[in-house]
Symmetry: C2
Subunit: 580 residues, 2 copies
């Protein structure tokens, strides 16, 4: 491509509504332009990167045996009524009526349409497994679209849907997609992790998210650097940190702890490790019947641990819990929040101890009296044996649930999701087939999404500096830029620029020749902003010594290459990076 | 591709709502499936053909210097309000509100969005010409969607928009697109014509339609087999068929023509050529003021000619005309319709003579009396000299307007349209740039559409037989199918099938190996229905004699090829067809 025949729409300033770096840089690099909230034009530079992502996604989906088709953006409401999502889906589902007043939706996802295809096309177990995928424009009417392509309303997704005759087949289809996703994100040159999203009901995980690791990510991910374990912190099992409970050694002692309402302050005041203190969290669940008292729960966590509300909500009786009110705390504990504990409550409370707390001994709890804590507390002796559950978030240094090392925490941006749907849609929509035993059975479905446009934002969040984007070679809108200095003045420069450009084209490199006639400073700033990974600068001064200047986008300095070898050397660098 | 890893959804019967052959065959061949009225799934076989069309379109658009981007399907109403089309566009424009009650539309076309891009990005004449294009999903809420992809609601279009600094630039951009379209439809292997759609205001045509020639087409096209002239019949100039008016030779004679209300009957009864008779068409235009009488018009056409209502509507005073009522005809002519003419009308009428009629002499008109005509009528002697205009449709055998031969008529399906918009949108939306003289000027725009999905339908309407579709090599979902006979029984067949398949893949041919294990009859019927242009049948009987059976989709019989040369021979056939 020659820049004079292309459209480069770089900007000096990002708009005020761009909050995060990828949004700012995509606007400034001329990749996207806002049309309305969460709705963008993909300008030529941006579209090139999108197409490269799509191409890699397609190649790996095809390699995994998935078959491409294309479903419509506009879907009849009747399919959504069949699945039940017409009622269940919130206002993110854009609904409208056509000129005949028939209800339609703009598809945020295509389970209904693809299940309709499957129930019409698949009659026998012999026709499965089958996996249909598409790369398609979706719409989700986000309440607060922002972050550019990271949380847009109209966006491009690859969505795939597998159909199997049984659960074993589904697991195999799921694994194929999992493997394909690993290949896709590897080829895209992204630092990513497959993360357990949900522990599933029976036998292993039914869902993985694929996260690009970036400090600006929205999700906390627990991972083990020594194994391939990774899970959303919310979904990670927190093992007990104490293997066996020690026998009581201290006497139960009420101690003055003036002003030390928090565990950290208690530990400091008493000069004991934070790991000896207990955090008491008071929850309430409402009971049926007019005027019925709520049930009050005391959840005990070690002082350095935090409550995982999702885990707490899964405990029997705690579904739909709420924080207890101050009035309730005073009524049940006889004291306002700050010095609470399980000893001598005014009214009975249900105590749940975290797995680690259950194995502690000689620990410190609030005395249910302002400015007092009780030390030397022990299960069995001072308190009845508690109900025990995993109710905390894992933290850095915890043992990995797979037993292969310790946990570290990072932040991630979700760019892919694989999910075992089972028979949710096939049951609702009557997608059955004739099984080998001659009887009808519901198809086992999986769904597999990749946010194509979102990947651009995630890749930038992971790869940028103060000059602009730093693209992986696989997604870069151009892999190499050739910048001739004084193209209009020097025939020599023109000749070499054309030669190098043509050599790169012939080597299959996606190269742009900047023949716009801009000043060097403008050229360099544009291509650094756009994030082209490799730059060749061709000028009279270098050519006199038979040299062309090369600089990688992450390099702090340029190096000189022999002019005749420059194209081949850079082509080699690109290919090496793509294979890395 | 191996068929066992692909999805083939052929059907024995087409649904009842499929009226035309392309719709029936696309359903039966498993290319499309209805989701709602005018909304389809593109199944794997169909999507392959769509992608091939898209690829050719992209290559030629890029070659012509157009730059690809991607605009959103969902567009804010405010842009349409700016252009004025929010009010002008009928109910085919799908309008809806998002969750914040803001008005949006599903884009049927993108002039507004692209003009918004241009006015933000193009500041100087130096940035033009520029031509942006996209391949994108559009929505038009057709009142009566039908004919499958030929008149759908959701469909894929390539739309391009050029921006130039002046009219000369626009004409150049337009010509480049015209030339690109000729290359595109040629490469697609379609029999097509570029057709003048509108004579434009000044200096040549401002609009061409590209039509695929097919008997089932919706449009009548006049073309000259001896030149490249082609135009919609509605827009084709009808030259006078008589060069000079002859002097009167007959006396004016009122003649009894009982029951001969039509020109054909009069000619037969009087034993004269139909070309001597005149057809009188009575139009009315309403005048302002309460109780004002309409103006009644008598349009005179030769007996073998038909009125062109578009041309008539352009005559001064006739804009918005209607057919006169029977009551009006009786009031103005003193007789009901059937024997009308310009002689002795009861009240004054405005007479318009077609160019041919104006040069006739000794002609026959109705006498304004039931069962009577008047012969030997002559201008000047019996009637005042008429107002003369081109008011008829051309017909086969007429002189071509370019003076290079005679007209023939065919039917066509519009698959592309190029249009000089001028400053319509730039004026309405303030898309100006700084011209060379330092002053702001509106951009000159052109727009250029190709109906990607429609092309599939049009190609089928042009290429089918009673077995199914006959694809041009360039659009075929697969170019070659290899059908092994008894794959499970014969190792020899399997070896040769794999070898031939691999050789074709290596030759860059898009081949499918039918390894489904179906019976020969099923295989042949499927691939003939799907329309694969080349078929190789590999069986033990042939292989024993070193032969593989070849049959082109249009061939009535198979031929035998040496087994070792079969792949190369077929690859050669495909490549020859693509270059033809």
């Amino acid at each position: 491509m020659k820049a004079s025949r292309f459209f480069i729409g770089t900007l000096k300033e990002a708009p005020a509504d761009a909050e995060i770096v990828s949004h700012k840089l995509m606007i400034r690099a001329g990749m996207i332009r806002r049309v309305a909230g969460g709705i963008y034009n993909y300008l030529p530079v941006g579209l090139r990167s999108i197409r490269k992502v799509e191409q890699i996604v397609r190649e790996e989906m095809n390699r995994a045996g998935a078959i491409e088709l294309l479903m419509p953006a506009v879907q009849p409401a009747e399919l959504w009524q069949e699945s039940g999502r017409w009622e269940q889906y919130g206002p993110e589902l854009l609904r409208f009526k056509d000129r005949k007043q028939t209800d339609f939706v703009m598809g945020p996802t295509h389970e209904e349409v693809v299940t309709d295809i499957a129930r019409n096309q698949i009659k026998s177990y012999r026709q499965m497994p089958v996996n249909f995928y598409q790369v398609q424009t979706k719409f989700r009417d986000e309440i607060r679209p922002r972050f550019g392509v990271m949380r847009g309303r109209e966006f491009i997704m690859k969505d795939a849907y597998s159909f199997d005759k049984d659960v074993d087949g589904l697991k195999l289809s799921y694994q194929k997609m999992y493997d394909a996703y690993v290949r896709i994100f590897t080829r895209l040159g992204l630092n990513f992790r497959a993360v357990v999203a949900d522990n599933g009901s029976i036998g292993g995980s039914g869902s993985h998210e694929f996260h690009v690791i970036a400090e600006t990510g929205e999700d906390d991910i627990a991972y083990c650097p020594d194994s391939d374990f990774a899970a959303n912190v919310e979904a990670t099992e927190a093992l007990p940190l104490i293997a066996e409970r020690a026998a009581p050694a201290e006497a139960l002692t009420k101690t003055s702890t003036p002003g030390a309402a928090k565990c950290e302050a208690v530990a400091k005041l008493l000069d004991i490790p934070l790991e000896k203190t207990i955090k008491s969290i008071i929850l309430a669940t409402d009971n049926e019947g007019e005027g019925a008292e709520p049930t009050i729960w005391l959840l005990m966590l070690r002082g350095d641990h935090d409550l995982n509300e999702i885990k707490a909500g899964k405990i029997e009786g705690l579904k739909g819990f709420r924080m207890a009110t101050e009035a309730e705390i005073i009524e049940w504990f006889g004291t306002p929040p700050g010095y609470l504990g399980p000893l001598n409550t005014k009214k009975p409370v249900k105590v749940i101890a975290d797995l680690t707390v259950a194995n502690m001994s000689d620990f410190v709890v609030g005395s249910n009296e302002v400015d007092f804590h009780t030390t030397g507390v022990n299960w069995g002796r001072d308190l009845p044996e508690p109900v025990v559950a995993d109710i905390r978030n894992v933290k850095k240094g915890d043992p990995s649930p797979d037993g292969k090392g310790v946990i570290d925490i990072c932040r991630g941006i979700e760019v892919g999701h694989v999910f075992q749907l089972g028979t949710k849609y096939s049951d609702a929509m009557g997608a059955t087939f004739l099984a080998e035993n001659g009887k009808p059975a519901p198809m086992q479905m999986g769904c597999y999404g990749i946010g194509v446009t979102r990947i651009l934002g995630a890749a930038i969040e992971q790869n940028f500096d103060d000059k602009g984007i730093i693209w992986p070679e696989s997604i870069a809108p151009f892999q190499v830029v050739v910048c001739p200095m004084g193209l209009d003045r020097s025939e020599l420069v023109r000749e070499h620029a054309e030669r190098v450009y043509n050599e790169l084209v012939e080597a299959g490199i996606d190269v742009i020749l900047d023949d716009r006639g801009e000043r060097p400073g403008v050229m360099f700033a544009d291509w650094e902003l756009i994030g082209v990974p490799h730059r060749l600068v061709i000028g009279d001064r270098g050519l006199k010594e038979g040299k062309i200047e090369y600089q990688g986008r992450r390099d702090t300095e340029a190096t000189l290459l022999p002019a005749e070898e420059a194209a081949a050397t850079v082509a080699q660098k690109v290919k090496a990076a793509l294979q890395a």
